[in-house]
């Protein structure tokens, strides 16, 4: 690239050139200043946004911790309730077992009683049949007047 050539070595011309170029440099520095101001403003904005995000995250963390505490408390309470229910259930289970056992016993007793009743009924039936037979017998019929006289004198 060809270097700019001064058409004149006159000190005044060189000074004029330097003055103009220094003015151009001021324009360039003003551009840089404007860019820096814009950059600073943009970064300040980002910083503010970051802080807002951080504060929001802190609030969410605090809220999450509170929620965790509440949840832990609720969990503890629920566990206690569950323990109580478990104990109650265990007790009821034991009672149920006892009742079941008692029921089985009663059922056994009932069965035995039923068997006895059945046996007794059978015996009654037998006796009844014998009685009917006896009452149907001629000797019973013939002795009826004597039983009447006996009842009369009793």
């Amino acid at each position: 690239m060809p270097e700019p050539r001064d058409e004149s070595a006159d000190p005044l011309s060189l000074l004029q050139k330097q003055l103009i170029l220094s003015q151009v440099q001021i324009l360039e520095l003003e551009d840089v200043r404007d860019e820096l101001q814009a950059t600073i403003a943009a970064r300040a904005k980002v910083l503010t946004e970051l802080q807002t995000v951080a504060d929001g995250a802190l609030r969410e963390t605090a809220a999450a911790k509170d929620a965790e505490t509440i949840a832990r408390t609720a969990l503890h309470s629920a566990r206690e309730d569950a323990e109580r229910l478990r104990s109650t259930l265990e007790r009821l289970q034991q009672a149920a077992d006892v009742s079941a056992r008692r029921l089985r016993e009663m059922e056994a007793d009932l069965a035995a009683t039923q068997r006895a009743v059945t046996e007794k009924a059978g015996r009654i039936e037998t006796l009844d049949a014998e009685l009917k037979g006896m009452k149907a017998s001629r000797s019973w019929r013939w002795m009826a007047p004597l039983r009447s006289l006996e009842r009369l004198f009793r």
């Binding site: 700019p4 058409e7 004149s8 551009d31 807002t52 504060d55 802190l58 605090a62």
Partner: protein, 652 residues
């Protein structure tokens, strides 16, 4: 039982402090308690517990507190070191030490920076050349050295003098106790606000502006006194502030286009100014634009605020998918038929199927003749291989350029005459270049700077910003000779030039003594030229109607007109569209003699000068607009892209 607190911080968050002091206001109460809780702010780098309390009847009402008047409100105020902090607002029941965290939040504390004061002389305006005394301390840094700056003056100071008072109000500053300074010599003549510059132990520089203004006209070296101006002479601002983007799009385009501009040189060329302006305008209108250059994409910095992306040829992949949406261009706009442009565009067009538009802005063959110093007949008689060797990539090949034009889907031209060079076939669209309205607009002459440069009212200043190359060196030489002639006849005239010289303007190196030409070289930012152009009284475009000028549109002309000064130019290209004596001063032939005569005429006729200045600005406002040129070009693209792809092309 754990106490339960209610609170609210009422200071707006996020919290930032520019001076190290944090203040937080709010209120806090405790359930079932009649007394406000203890409150403080805690961080890992300190506590803020200094508190001011106040009644909050609104809190009383909100919580139905019967015993009103309790001091629920608080203001906590204190200092924290510079940096980012994680703070906790904590509360404790009165009389206990069981602190609970109420809220966590961040705070950013910016350093106050250098603190300094000048104490002697006591007057706010320093008029005497005396020793200047004061103090300087930085809250976060240890200072090694101090200087005073005003105007161009740099005055070193002796630093480290004892100061018992500064630690009282700047206890955090490492050097507070030894922060005194005194200048090593009497303040020299100068004029400006006085600033204290401190260099810290790590070489960092810190600046503090003082309330002192130096207006010292006399010192030991200038006992007679200097006449220092109240305000330094300045160029006007480079750009004007405009409330609205000049390219505000009215709406999103129905069919956004992807346009790839292809330049033959880097972004410092005049062609790049046109392409940059068009690309910016098209992007503002909702289209996508990329500009490809052979090399030096970093020269895009010449166009500060460019909205488009720059790529070098080698960085474009063979499938042309360089747009953000992953697609290739819809339109390839080849800027001239130069060989490097043609070789890049043709294969890309084949692969992508994009519409090819070729732009003509010069008589390329004439430029080839001038650069190779051979006539077109001589060139066309050469063997193909020899011609191939002779034509550099940055010029147009006489035959291939014509084939390239003929194969295009469209051609754009910058002057009517260029239509003659387009083979039959492709449609042609004419658009004129324009000037950046933010930098080139009617500007008054900066008289104070002109005076500082020694250019009195009887001194004519011309300005020409343009490169010199083989095609225009003769014309520029005419301009130089016009300047010589005017000065020789006692009409003080200076030509200020910028740009690059690709060849010597004249071989007559002897005639440079006394020549009133200030050559500033290339100005890094094109937008700064507007402020420089304001220095001129007139603008001159030398030349005449010929095979070179008839086919071009000098890119500086819209900028000349936009500044609102009389423009002297020949009756060719734009000159054919101007009214002499109204829009411009049009010469049949703008050679040295005619230019000098025109300048003498204008110097003698202030009414003509005013009319031509006004006429130039009006013509620019009416006829030069990058937005209109871009809209016209987009419409031209639109006509092409709505047509089916040329059957000559095959897709990849």
């Amino acid at each position: 039982m754990t106490p339960r607190f209610q609170h609210r911080i009422e200071t707006a968050l996020p919290l930032q402090s520019n001076d190290g002091v944090l203040e937080i206001k709010g209120w806090a109460s405790q359930e079932g308690a009649n007394l406000p809780p203890e409150i403080k702010i805690v961080s890992d780098r300190g506590e803020i517990s200094a508190i001011h309390r106040c009644a909050r009847p609104d809190v009383d009402a909100a919580f139905g507190i019967a015993d009103a008047g309790k001091l629920w409100g608080f203001t906590l105020r204190g200092k924290l070191p510079a940096g980012a902090h994680l703070l906790r607002l904590v509360a404790a029941e009165g009389g206990t030490d069981r602190w609970q965290t109420l809220q966590r939040f961040t705070a950013v504390v910016f350093s106050r920076g250098l603190q300094a004061s000048i104490e002697f002389p006591v007057d706010l305006t320093l008029r005497e050349s005396v020793r200047i005394q004061g103090w300087a301390a930085h809250p976060d840094a240890s200072i090694r050295a101090v200087e005073l700056h005003y105007g161009t003056r740099r005055v070193p100071c002796e630093f480290g003098l004892s100061r018992l008072d500064v630690p009282q109000f700047l206890p955090e500053a490492p050097d507070a106790g030894k922060s005194g300074f005194v200048s090593v010599k009497n303040a020299p003549a100068g004029r400006s606000v006085v600033r204290v510059i401190a260099i810290d132990a790590h070489g960092g520089r810190h600046v503090a502006r003082t309330n002192r203004y130096a207006e010292i006209n006399r010192d030991e070296e200038n006992p007679a006194g200097l006449n220092l101006p109240a305000q330094p002479a300045r160029l006007p601002p480079a750009r004007r502030t405009s409330p609205a983007d000049p390219f505000s799009p009215p709406h999103s385009p129905a069919k956004p286009l992807r346009v790839l501009f292809v330049l033959y040189g880097d972004f410092t060329s005049n062609s790049a100014i046109h392409v940059a302006a068009l690309a910016n305008a098209m992007i503002a209108l909702g289209h996508a634009c990329i500009v490809a250059v052979p090399e030096h994409a970093e020269t895009l910095s010449y166009h500060r605020g460019a909205r488009f992306r720059a790529v070098v040829f080698d960085a474009v992949p063979s499938d042309g998918r360089i747009f953000p949406d992953g697609n290739p261009p819809d339109v390839i706009h080849a800027w001239t038929t130069r060989e490097n442009v043609r070789r890049f565009c043709e294969p890309l067009r084949q692969v992508t199927g994009a519409k090819l538009v070729v732009h003509l802005e010069d008589h390329e063959l004439r430029i080839l003749e001038l650069n190779l110093n051979r006539s077109r007949h001589e060139l066309l008689e050469l063997e193909a291989a020899a011609l191939e060797q002779l034509v550099p990539p940055t010029l147009s090949h006489p035959q291939r350029s014509r084939e390239f034009l003929a194969s295009a889907d469209g051609v754009t031209v910058i002057t009517e005459k260029l239509r003659d060079l387009v083979p039959a076939g492709p449609p042609i669209h004419l658009f004129w270049p324009a000037a950046d309205p933010g930098a080139f607009f009617p500007r008054p002459v900066p008289r104070d700077l002109r005076a500082a440069l020694g250019f009195g009212d009887d001194h004519t200043v011309l300005f020409y910003h343009g490169n010199v190359h083989a095609a225009n060196r003769a014309e520029i030489h005419e301009l130089y000779q016009a300047v010589d002639e005017l000065n020789a006849r006692g009409a003080k005239t200076t030509l200020i030039r910028t740009g690059r010289d690709f060849c010597p303007i004249s071989n007559d190196t002897a005639k440079t003594d006394g020549r009133q030409v200030l050559f500033l070289g290339q100005i890094e930012q094109h937008a700064h030229l507007g402020a420089l152009l304001a220095l001129a009284d007139f603008f001159v475009q030398p030349g005449e109607a010929d095979a070179f000028n008839d086919y071009r549109f000098p890119s500086k002309l819209p900028e000349f007109f936009a500044i609102g000064r009389p423009v002297i130019l020949p009756r060719t290209n734009l000159g054919n569209s101007l009214r002499h004596g109204e829009d411009a001063y049009v010469l049949e032939r703008a050679d040295a003699t005619a230019i000098a005569a025109a300048i003498r005429t204008l110097r003698a006729d202030p009414l003509l000068r005013e009319r031509l200045g006004t006429g130039a600005a009006a013509f620019a406002a009416k006829r030069f607009s990058w937005q209109r040129s871009a809209e016209g070009l987009l419409s031209f693209y639109g006509q092409m892209t709505s047509l089916p792809i040329s059957p000559r092309l095959t897709h990849a």
